[in-house]
Amino acid sequence: MSDYKAIVIGGSAGSFALVLKLLSRLSPSFDIPIIICMHRLKHIRSGLVESLNVKSKIKVVEPNDKERIEKGKAYLAPSNYHMFIEFDGTISLSIEDMNNHSRPSIDYTLSSASVAFRDRCVGIILTGANKDGAKGIKDIADKKGFTIVQDPATAEVDTMPKSALRVMKPNLILSPDGIIDFLNNLK
């Protein structure tokens, strides 16, 4: 069994298809919680989680505030809320100001995960069109968590992975298929 308490993924432009592919190709017995923060339209609050659940091998939920993180589930940051991981293994939400023009902010989710899980966290940055997430994945690396950045050459928009690579050196730079294989080998 893996020592990791959570996989935390951030992505923006182009990341929906990638997250869908990743969730659809996970082993059904994959039980490490996956926490996903994707930039999304703030006025459209339904549809995304439903679409992911159509193909995902594990259940995807948009958590309520103070919801406990459970094994075998994926948690998607709700539209127009920041999502944080707390020390007690729960999720907290917030409507505080946007960060990097984003709510949810990937930096916020990843940074809070770095504090809550320290070296028992895998952080992944996918394709995206702004620098949100770079600080968050650096925080995970600084706490000795395992970090992966999508290979910019395979990204639909490479700004986000390139921004991450400018501020930190990840453990791995992988293609989407490489990320999926990595996760399935964690179990």
Partner: protein, 265 residues
């Protein structure tokens, strides 16, 4: 600036004493973010400087204001306001309480909705522990970006053609007409400390997000005491009712609208 758990504890105790609000039961990570932000905005460098500042009532006011998480637009979550409109239809009159006003957007939203629906208000009370929140609510200036969002929300609420009736534009500054809230009674008090009075509608959205479970439960219990028998309590769409044993009925749980459960006689 890096804040330790001891820093957070010391500041929350100092703020609780200075502002008469129980910050010791706010969510720790929220406090960490908000206090860090306050220290930056006030150009301070040490935690102790913030604690010392709280001894000056005028500076304490600034800190109280910086601890607020404002709602950022009129009719945020149009689906909620649509659901509320549906649930208020048929009411002859209404008393309303905003226990935790943060900047006025929700207050204006409700007053506009009630005007559109033709529902007279017997009383509207807005409570906050920050005088600056009250002052700013009475003069709510909006940026062009928020103006755009407001128009979009009005459109989604199908009252788009009415937006311009509710704003004044002067020297390129857009202000929501203050007369919309002229009948509102403002209380500078933390709602938990207010004497219990009854209301038909309590708007309390996205406030418990900043609390730990203990304060969350205390807050909801206190608000239920202030609900009339046919009253409605509204919370944010991603908040839950705690404790779960409370006598509350799901009127529209998806939109965070709850009513008082009828007791069997």
């Amino acid at each position: 600036m890096f804040l330790t758990l001891t820093d957070i504890k010391d500041i929350s105790v100092a703020m609780s004493e200075a502002l008469r609000v129980d910050f010791t039961n706010y969510n720790t990570s929220f406090l960490k973010r908000r206090v860090t932000r306050a220290i930056e905005k006030l150009n301070l460098h040490k935690v102790q400087e913030l604690i010392n500042l709280l001894k000056d009532p005028q500076k304490a006011e600034e800190v109280a204001f910086l601890m607020q998480v404002p709602c950022t637009e009129l009719f945020r979550d149009p689906a909620f306001w649509r659901a509320l409109r549906k649930n208020l239809t048929g009411r002859k009159q209404l008393s309303v309480w905003f226990p935790h006003l943060t900047n006025g957007y929700e207050l204006y939203s409700l007053m506009i909705l009630l005007k559109q629906m033709g529902i007279p208000q017997t009383r509207v009370v807005a409570s906050t522990f920050s005088q600056l929140v009250i002052d700013k609510a009475k003069q709510l200036n909006i940026t062009s970006k928020i103006d755009e969002v407001n128009r979009y929300n009005f459109e989604r609420l199908e009252i788009a053609n009415k937006y311009d009736e509710y704003v004044d534009v002067c020297d390129n500054v857009t202000t929501i007409k203050p007369e919309i809230i002229s009948s509102v009674e403002f209380h500078k008090e933390w709602y938990i400390n207010e004497k219990v009075e009854k209301y038909d509608l309590i708007i309390f959205r996205n406030v418990t997000l900043n609390y730990n479970v203990l304060l969350h439960e205390r807050a909801i219990e206190r608000l239920v005491q202030s609900l009339n028998d046919d009253g409605l309590l509204t919370i944010g769409i991603k908040e839950v009712i705690l404790p779960r044993t409370l006598r509350l009925n799901e009127v529209n749980a998806n939109e965070g609208i709850y009513g008082v459960k009828k007791q069997n006689v």
